[in-house]
């Protein structure tokens, strides 16, 4: 007899719903088959389930009161604590209660708690610009542990909140996490220091970037639609941001860098307030202050100077064009 499916409840609060919409991009198999194959049953999802109004509230109440087993609680969007800690910026409709109270009641009943997206994990874009709504994450407020549930929170299964950070999340990040939980192949050592699943957070966005030849020679883009490396001028944080975007790929063949624009490090806490315009690289004495992760500054400066002086004409000219104006030479003697 197959094991009883895991019950998954999904809540949305101070976010855009984009992590759910991104989940609909799942392929081979599609979302519903994927969940079924993983042995996960959607108790209720605000965008996908039939149950509305009192039907939905009955499900939430049953979970909160322990009458229904809650294996996985996914929260998408930040917790809205404002104004003044009352949570009135999001009262769950039909209940007259702040969503943050519902999240508190449900999280203590859940075997696993997932913060889906950077809003639920850290506050995210909803905490931008002075954070008018009092947005915070489930177990972090920006980079600071705490959040709504407190740094000491552990779900019934023993893990802290699993921060599937990203803005939005890649469907694979969410589904791989759920499948690993369902297969009981996920433990505390699978989380990085920011509680993100290491299977994607132990990579850098830079890995697999198709602009790598431009990066190697520091042949830099200067304006939108240029082909060159976007680290030096365009604000790209791909060499620092933790995610596997350029090896996993989005919507078939994409990633931010492949889409012609900078990585804004959306899997990191406080990405929403970088302290500089998103599309400009902050520099001191002409050198980007955000160096590639694990790269000593002196080495970077020396290598950059050397590689700039050795940049082939093809790479230099293509870097500031919107198509290949110089094509690779065809060797007449065969490749060796």
């Amino acid at each position: 007899m197959p094991p009883e499916p895991l019950n998954l409840l999904w809540l949305q609060s101070g976010g855009c719903g984009g992590c759910t919409l991104s989940l609909l991009n799942a392929e081979h198999p599609h979302l519903f088959t994927h969940l079924e194959d993983a042995g996960i049953r959607l108790l209720w999802h605000p965008s996908l389930s039939q149950a509305s109004g009192s039907e939905a509230l009955d499900i939430l109440a049953a979970c909160a009161e322990g009458r229904e087993r809650l294996d996985i609680l996914c929260v998408e969007g930040s917790v809205m604590t404002g104004p003044h800690g009352t949570g009135r910026f999001h009262m769950l409709s039909g209940t007259g209660r702040p969503m943050m109270s519902w999240v508190l009641d449900l999280a203590v009943r859940a075997r696993h708690v997932l913060a889906v997206g950077s809003c639920a994990a850290f506050g995210g874009i909803t905490a931008s610009g002075g954070n008018p709504g009092g947005a915070m994450g489930l177990q972090f407020d920006g980079e600071h542990p705490g959040g709504l549930l407190g740094a000491g929170f552990r779900a019934g299964g023993g893990l802290p909140v699993i921060n599937v950070a990203g803005c939005p999340t890649h469907p694979g990040w969410v589904l791989d996490t759920l499948l690993a939980l369902a297969l009981e192949r996920f433990s505390g050592t699978d989380l990085d220091p920011l509680q993100r699943p290491r299977f994607y957070a132990d990579h850098l966005v830079h890995h697999g970037c198709p602009r790598n030849e431009f990066y190697e020679f520091k042949a830099s883009a200067e304006k939108a639609s240029d082909q060159g490396c976007m680290m030096e001028n365009m604000g790209c944080k791909g060499t620092q941001a933790h995610a596997d975007c350029n090896t996993r790929l989005w919507n078939g063949s994409g990633s931010c860098l492949r889409g012609g624009y900078a990585c804004v490090s959306c899997t990191e806490p406080r990405f929403e307030e970088p302290g500089h315009p998103f599309a400009e690289t902050p520099k001191v004495a002409g050198i980007p202050i955000g160096l590639p992760t694990d790269m000593p500054k002196a080495w970077f400066v020396a290598l950059a100077a050397l590689s700039k002086s050795a940049t082939p004409k093809r790479v230099r000219e293509n870097a500031v064009a919107d198509h290949a104006v110089v094509t690779p030479a065809v060797k007449k003697t065969g490749l060796k």
Binding site: G15, L24, F89, G94, S225
Partner: protein
């Protein structure tokens, strides 16, 4: 008189609460509450102008590209830029991709599952509809989800990812395509056409787009196998063409250089953005009614007589409806014009207009893709002025979206947003006039003992609401 509070309304993209006063088996009055406030208009002042391109798409995960396009358009207006032909075509393709994918999500995932409810089990169409459209487990999802995801490969190709791209820029697109990539684009559009013709329509897109009067539609439906036909059978049986009429005054900002901008009030008038004012009398907001160019957003949670975070935009003082039905009324689609002239706006008319757009726009996308020219520019560039204003008016799947930008000393000084559902789900204004959904619900028959009347849900979802955009 009894009052019912309905919520949560799921399958509406965000959270929604509706208060109904019920008397003599009818809705005496409806009040619509958008219960989530995040404060994007408070976050943006002080930021660098181009930062809007990162922040505003994240208002909404389902209208993300529309928000990008509106921000790019506002910045374009502010900078005095015009994109090159490739850039404009790229913007059409990316925005149309989102809008059409949203039409599919609405029809298959949000709207149709309500007809699989047990309350309809005695209807003759029920077995077929329940098998096909049951939420999560229905057979339609097996056809629609893979087709939608493959269609969204357009985003991987042209916008990096979806949602939340930065490829749409004031000067055009940051993502030039090579020759072979354009071939892939044409191929994936053909795949999407095949899905639509096989499953949604059971006919060629051109034949559906060409249905130009009620008699032609009635004739076309005879024996037609497809999801549109299935819906029309249900709609006819349940009288959905007599349900959910609002004021029949329609607004469109115009889209893709294909559907013109305008306002329909028995006749078409040109769009005048200066006629737009946001009333705040029943919103938990401080201040007074202001045009969005001078608008302000200051929450006032204890305000008397307020019942929502949503402001009440009005056009020339009037309530207007926006969405696919409005877009096609303003554009003069002959079938839609005849339908509304004969029966008025309704649940059926809104859903039909949405599906017709799939048939009209996909062939246009094929034309745009073939017109892309590798090697020609994709993006123009200009210095950012230190001071100035800009307006960006676009169409999201669910209607008219506007951004009003003001820049002073090189920083955003004010940023105001009116989203489609801000129009449709607006509260009463200072004159006590209800918003479009509130009007559409008033007078409809409901069972006062039913905790969540399904007909109310049909009306609400027929607008394809996006609650996260509504208040932002």
């Amino acid at each position: 008189m009894t009052t019912r509070i309905l919520g949560p309304f799921n399958r509406v993209e965000g959270d929604l609460e509706v208060h109904l006063d019920i008397a003599d088996g009818k809705v005496a009055a409806a009040r619509v509450n958008s219960p989530l406030y995040r404060g994007f208009e408070q976050m943006l002042p002080g930021k660098a102008p181009l930062d809007a391109l990162v922040i505003v798409p994240r208002i909404c995960g389902i209208c993300s590209v529309a928000q990008s396009a509106a921000a790019a358009a506002a910045l374009r207006d502010f900078m005095g830029l015009a994109p090159p032909p490739n850039g404009l075509l790229a913007e059409h393709l990316v925005t149309a991709c989102e809008n059409l994918a949203d039409h599919l999500s609405h029809f298959y995932l949000f709207f149709m599952p309500d007809f699989a409810r047990p309350v309809y089990q005695d209807r003759p169409w029920f077995p077929a509809v329940a098998t096909r459209f049951q939420a999560v487990s229905g057979s339609a999802a097996n056809d629609m989800l893979p087709a939608r995801a493959e269609f969204m490969h357009l985003m991987g190709l042209m916008a990096g990812k979806w949602p939340h791209t930065l490829s749409l820029q004031p000067g055009g697109s940051a993502r030039p395509l090579e020759h072979s990539e354009i071939l892939r684009l044409i191929t994936l559009l053909r795949g999407f056409r095949r899905f639509l013709e096989r499953h949604v329509f059971g006919d060629a897109l051109e034949a559906v787009a060409g249905l130009d009067n009620l008699a032609a539609l009635a004739n076309w439906r005879q024996g037609r196998v497809g999801d549109l036909s299935l819906f029309l059978n249900v709609a006819e049986d349940l009288g959905l063409d007599r349900l959910g009429r609002a004021g029949d005054r329609f607004l469109s900002h115009g889209a893709y250089d294909l559907f013109p901008a305008g306002v329909w009030d028995g006749d078409n008038a040109p769009l005048d953005p200066a006629a737009i004012v946001e009333d705040v009398s029943h919103a938990w907001m401080a201040g007074e009614a202001l045009p969005p160019a001078r608008g302000m957003t200051q929450p006032l949670p204890d305000k008397a007589d307020a019942y929502t975070w949503c402001k009440a935009p009005r056009y020339g003082g009037q309530v207007v409806e926006t969405g696919a039905l409005a877009r096609q009324m303003v554009a003069g689609h002959p079938l839609i014009r005849e339908w509304v002239a004969a029966k008025g706006g309704s649940v059926t008319a809104r859903v039909l207009a949405r599906l017709l757009e799939l048939a009209i726009v996909v062939p246009e996308m094929e034309r745009w893709a073939k017109a892309l020219t590798p090697g020609e520019p994709w993006c123009h560039h200009a210095e950012l002025p230190d001071e100035g204003v800009g307006i960006g008016l676009v169409e999201a799947a669910r209607g008219s979206l506007g951004h009003w930008l003001a820049v002073r000393h090189g920083r955003i000084a004010n940023y105001q947003i009116i989203a489609p559902t801000t129009w449709n789900f607006s509260p009463r204004d200072a004159g006590g006039v209800p918003g479009a959904l509130e009007q559409a619900l008033a007078g409809m028959a409901v069972d006062a003992d039913d905790p969540m009347p399904v007909a109310v849900q049909h009306v609400v979802r027929s607008f394809d609401p996006c609650m996260v955009c509504t208040v932002h």
